[in-house]
Symmetry: D2
C-alpha cells in the first residue's frame, strides 16, 4: 500500500500528480544546523528542466520550489522539510483523448488494473514529473553528504546506440546531453534529431560516480549499499537495469581478472565499483542504469481501450525524445538520498566523523 517513502533515518516521502495542483516532498531526519535555502534546491531542479536540447519536452516547466517547513533563519532545525512545486502551464485537455485508451509502455494499464481508477492526465502519479520531487529532496540529501565530503556526479555514457569513449567529467556541463565525451555527444544529438523526425524515441545509459565516499557505509545483509542503490535507481520509471562496478561484464570474467588487487595505496582496479560485501571500500562507487526509450511516440501503435477493445494510438504533444538528459539529475538525487541515509545509519553506531 504505502510506498511513497524511501530511507530509514533520512526519509523522503513524495506526492503529486502530473496535472494536479502541485508535487512535493517531505524530507524527514535531516540533521539540524545545516544551511539550506530554496536556491540550493532550485539549482538542482533547474538541471532537470527542459533546456536547449531538442530532445526535451516543450512544456515550459519552470519548476519553482518553495520550502514550507523545517528551516529557521536559513538553517535546518531537525524537523521535517516540506517542499512544494506548483504545477504550471498544465493543459489537461491534451490528455482527454487518452482517458479511455492505454498507452503502450506506460503505466496506464497497470494503474487501472491495480486501483480500478487512474488520473489519466499526463500519466498522473506515474508521470516523469514525479521525479521533480525526488530532485528537490535529493538537494537536501546533498547537504548531508557534502559535509561528509562525498560528491555524486551522473552523466550520459550511451544514447541511441552511441557510446561515450571517454570520461572527461569536465566536459559534462558543456553539452546539452551531459556527456563526458563531446564527440559522442554530437552523434547522440544527431540520433535524437533523426528519432524526432520519425516520431520515435530513444533509450540510453547513465553512469553515476560517487567520489569521496568513506569506507564502511552499508548494512549487511539485506540493506547492503548496492542493494539500496539498486532499489532506489530501479524505482525511477524509465530504468530497466542497474549494475555496479564491472556490472554485467563480471559474468565473463575469471576471478583473477575480476578481483581488485589490494595495495597499501588502495585497490589496483575497481571492478567492485567501490562496494565489497555490501559495504563501501573507500574507492569510487560506480553505477550504471539502463533507461528505456520514452514510451510516448507519434508512430502508430497497437493497443486496447479500457473496455478491452483493440485500438491504435499515435501520441502527439509535448514529449521528450529521450529521458536523457533530464534523468541525469534524478539519478544523482536518488544516489544522494541513499548515501545520506546510509551515512546517518553508519554514524549511529560508529561515532561521529562529521557532527562531533
Amino acid at each position: 500500500m504505502s510506498g511513497n517513502s524511501i530511507g530509514r533515518l533520512f526519509r523522503v516521502t513524495t506526492w503529486g500528480e502530473s496535472h494536479g495542483v502541485a508535487t512535493g516532498a517531505v524530507g524527514d531526519g535531516c540533521p539540524a544546523n545545516l544551511s539550506l535555502s530554496e536556491s540550493d534546491i532550485q539549482k538542482e531542479l533547474n538541471l532537470r528542466n527542459p533546456g536547449l536540447s531538442p530532445s526535451s519536452s516543450a512544456r515550459k516547466e519552470e519548476d519553482i520550489v518553495e520550502i514550507l517547513s523545517g528551516i529557521f533563519e536559513g538553517k535546518t532545525t531537525g524537523t521535517p522539510i516540506s517542499l512544494i512545486i506548483k504545477n504550471r502551464d498544465v493543459k489537461s485537455g491534451d490528455y482527454a483523448n487518452l482517458k479511455d485508451v492505454f498507452r503502450p509502455g506506460h503505466g496506464d494499464i497497470t494503474y487501472q488494473r491495480k486501483y480500478g481508477i487512474r488520473d489519466y492526465r499526463g500519466g498522473g502519479r506515474a508521470s516523469a514529473r514525479e521525479t521533480a520531487a525526488r530532485v528537490a529532496a535529493g538537494a537536501i540529501a546533498g547537504k548531508i553528504i557534502d559535509l561528509a565530503g562525498m560528491e555524486v556526479i551522473a552523466y550520459t555514457v550511451e544514447l541511441g546506440g552511441i557510446m561515450a569513449d571517454r570520461r572527461d567529467l569536465a566536459d559534462i556541463g558543456g553539452n546539452a546531453l551531459c556527456c563526458p565525451d563531446v564527440e559522442a555527444a554530437k552523434k547522440m544529438q544527431d540520433r535524437l534529431d533523426e528519432a524526432k523526425k520519425k516520431g520515435d524515441s530513444l533509450g540510453g545509459i547513465v553512469e553515476i560516480v560517487v567520489k569521496g565516499c568513506p569506507s564502511g557505509l552499508g548494512e549487511p545483509v539485506f540493506e547492503k549499499m548496492d542493494a539500496g542503490l539498486a532499489g532506489a535507481l530501479m524505482s525511477i520509471g524509465s530504468v530497466k537495469g542497474v549494475e555496479i562496478g564491472a556490472g554485467f561484464r563480471v559474468a565473463r570474467m575469471s576471478g583473477s581478472e575480476c578481483n581488485d588487487p589490494i595495495t597499501p595505496e588502495g585497490f589496483l582496479s575497481n571492478n567492485a565499483g567501490g562496494i565489497l560485501a555490501g559495504i563501501t571500500n573507500g574507492d569510487d562507487i560506480v553505477i550504471r542504469v539502463a533507461c528505456k526509450p520514452i514510451p510516448s511516440i507519434e508512430i502508430t501503435q497497437q493497443t486496447i481501450d479500457i473496455y478491452g477493445k483493440p485500438e491504435t494510438i499515435s501520441i502527439h504533444g509535448r514529449h521528450d525524445v529521450c529521458v536523457i538528459p533530464r534523468i541525469v539529475p534524478v539519478c544523482e538525487a536518488m544516489v544522494r538520498i541513499v548515501l545520506a541515509d546510509h551515512f546517518l545509519r553508519h554514524q549511529s553506531a560508529n561515532g561521529s566523523k562529521l557532527f562531533g
Copy 2:
C-alpha cells in the same frame, strides 16, 4: 545498523555466521493455515547443496533445517516461523591463516573497516553460507505464492562466456548447472573444468522467470515491484547487476521497438519483463542477474594484511569454481520473498483473491 530483515508484511530476518553454531531465519507475517513441514523447506535447501558438479565446494554441507516455532499440527499459525540450520563439518582451522590478511574480492577489508572486528572464519556473516537461511525462508514465501498461483523458476543462461541459446525449461533439472540448453551446459562444464585446473573461478548470469503473477502487484513509487526485486537480488553477495525484461538492451532500442503492443489477448512482446510503472502487468516477470566469479582462488593475488602491509595470497580449501548452480535457488528464494510480501500488501487494500 540493523539490516538483516527484508519485507514489510512478510518479513524475513536472517542470522548466523559461516563457522558459528548455526544459521537461521525468522519468517514473520506468514498467513495462518498454510501447510508447512520441514521437508517442504528441506527440498529447497537440498537444491543449494553441493552436488555432483565439480564446480561445487567439497565441504559436505548436508544442511538440515529444523522448524522451531510457528507451526502447529502441520499448519502455520500466523506467528513467526523460526528456522535453524546447524553448522556441521566446520573446519575453522582452515581459516586461521586468513586472520590477518584481506582476501581480494571478499568483504574481509570492508567488515574490518566498518566494525573494527570480524569473524574471519570462512567469511563469517559475509559467507555464501548466509544464503542457506534465505533459501529456507524462501520456502515459506513459496507457500504463499503457490496459493496465489505464482511459480518462480531460475536457471543459468550464461557461464564463463558460454551463453544458453535456448530456454527449454524442461531441461533445467537434467544437468548439474540448471541450464535450459543442454548443449551449452556441456560447454559451460568444460569451462569450469579448465578454470578449476588453473585455480581460477568464473562468473555467469542467472535468469529468473515468474509465471502466473497476477496484474496489480507493486507499490509506486519507491516500492515498485522492480525496485523491490532489484534490491533483494542485489543483496546477494555475488550479484553485481540486475535487469528486468529487455534490461540493458533497452538502451539501444527505439520506443517503437521497446513498447510492448497491447492486444485483447495480451502483450505481443515482453520487453517490460512483466512490470509497467512498477506494477505487474500480468505477463511473465523476467529478471537477469550478473554473478561475479567466486573471489577465493588458488592463483596468487596481491593484497595487504590488517596492518596495511603488502602480502600475497593463494587460497586453498573447499571452494566452488562458480556460484552457479548454487546461487540458482537463492535467486528463486529472494524473488519469492519479494512476491509474497507484495502479494500481501496488495491484498490489504484490494481484497482477497486468495484467502476470501
Copy 3:
C-alpha cells in the same frame, strides 16, 4: 532521526511549525475509490478550532485545508494524499521575548539541547498547532474505518478535578467541552473560568470509544492493537498516561473480578477494553488519556535562559486554559489512524471483509 511518520500500510507523515508558512500531512496507502473531499476534512478540522469556550485560545485559526494530490474526480486514487493548512493570523512578534528563555513544561529546553537550534516562535514544531495536521490526516483514516463500520467517539470525562458521572454520548455535542454529562460540564466550565482568572491552566482526561470494531485486528506481539494505540496517543504532546479498558483499576482487581465472562451473546463486562492479547475481541474499544495542564501560564514561574542563568517568566498571549476540548478531535484522529492501519494489515492475510 526521522520520526514524523506513523503507520505501516496507511502511513501518515506530518510537517510544519506553528509560525511557519503552513503545516500539512501526507496520507499514503489509502485504498483507491473512496470518496474524499476537502469538506470531509474541513469538518474535522473545525472541531479542533477555538470555539465559544473561554478555555480556548483567542488566536483566530480558521484552518482551511487544501488537498494537493491523490484525489481525482472526488475519489482517492491510491496515491499519496497531500494536505496543506496555511498558517494565518500569525504574530511572531509575540514570541520574540521567548527567544532566549525556556518556558517550563514546554519542549523549548529539550529541542534546544537535542538540536542546538529551535524555532522559538510559538513552540515551532512542538506547538499544539502540529495536531491540526493529525486531525486532517485522521479524516482520511476515518473514510477507511467508516467503510469497515467502525466509529470513533472521544469525549471529556474529567477536567480540573470534576469527573463526568454519566456517559450520555448524545450530550457530547451540546456543550463546549464535549462532555457526556451536562451537569459536570457546567462545573468544569466554572473551574476553567477560575483558572483563567488566576492566570493558571488545568488538566483533564479524555475517553475514546471505538464502536463496531471487528474482532481480529492487531498484530502480536510488539504491534498489538493496544500497543499501537498507546504509542499513538502518547505521541500527543499533552498526554502523560494511557489506559485501556479498566486501565489502572486492574491493579486492584482480582482475576475473578477482572476477567470478562464470555457468553454466546458476548462478553458480560468489558474490563479488557475490547482487546485481548493485543487483538480486538469485537467489544467496544475503550481508552482513556490523561492530559496535562497547558504549560503556558501567566503565573510567574522559575526558569533559566539559554545561557543557563536563572530567570522568571510570566507568559501572556493567546493561550488556552486547557487542551480540552481541542484535544478531543486529535485523540479521535490518532485512534482512527491506528485503526485504519491495522484494518489494512488484517486484510492483507485474512481476506476482504470490505473491498471484496
Copy 4:
C-alpha cells in the same frame, strides 16, 4: 501481519510458543566490539524465573540461553545476535482439556478469531513465556545503554491493593516481590497467600526508573521517547495502562503545580517524568505500568467453547498468582530496548558521545 519486531536501529525480533521446541530472539543492530556472554544474558533471565515466592508458577523453568551468532571471541561483531531458549519440563497434556474452550481474560478467543487456528497448549504465542525472549534481548540492549551510562531499575509499587509508601531502591533485592518498601512487601505477600487459597489472582503496578539518561533522546513527533516507551510496555500481555511522570495525576493539577521549575542546577520537580515534548530532559525517566491479574484462576468462570456453546471453566495447573515479580525484569527489558534504539538514533545525527 508481521508484528514480532521492535526498534529501528537496534531491532529485536522474537519467536516461539509456550509449548513449542524453543523460544528465542534476534537482536539486530548492536554496535560491534561490546563484550557479551551467555552469562550476561542468563543473569537477566534468572530474574524472571520462578523463585522462592509462592506467587510464582511451579513449572520449573530453568531457562538456559544459548548464543547462536553475532559474537566472536566474546565480543559483538555488528551482525545479528541470535538467542535460543529451549523449552523444558513441558507438559502439553495439561492443556488438552483447553483445546475446545476459551479461557476468560486470555487471548484464546481472539487468536482463534484472527487466525482460525491456535496453538492452545499453554497459550502458545500469547503465553507469558514469550517474555523470556524479551528479557534475553533486553540484556543485549543493556550493554548498549550501560556504555552510555544509563541504568534501568523496575520495582513493585502496588500489589493487590497494597501500595509501597517508600522507594528505597536498596531494598528491592531483599524481598521476593522486588518491592522498595519491605513492610509493604510483607502485606503484599499476605494478599498473595489469601488469593492463592481462594484460587484467585491479583494485579499490581510496576514502576520503572531510568537513571543517567542524557538529554536529547527521542524523535518528534510520532516517535517521541514517551510514545516509544508506552507502545513497548503496552505490548506486554498483562499491561493495561502506562503513565509517565505524574501520569494520570496531571489531570487534577493546575499548570502552576504541574510545570517543573527550571534552575541552573536542574528541574525542581519531575512531573514530566524526564521527558518534555517527547525528548528526554536529563532528569530521571519515571514510568508506571498497571498489570492485570493473571487470568488463569481456579475459581469457576463462565465462558463458551469454540463452537459458541456456554461452558464453565476452572483452571488448574502451575499458574502464578500475580505477574509480579516475574514481570519486573520484562519491564526493564522493554525499556532498555527502547532506550538503546533511541540512543543509536540520536547518535546518527548528533555525533558520538559514546563510540567516538
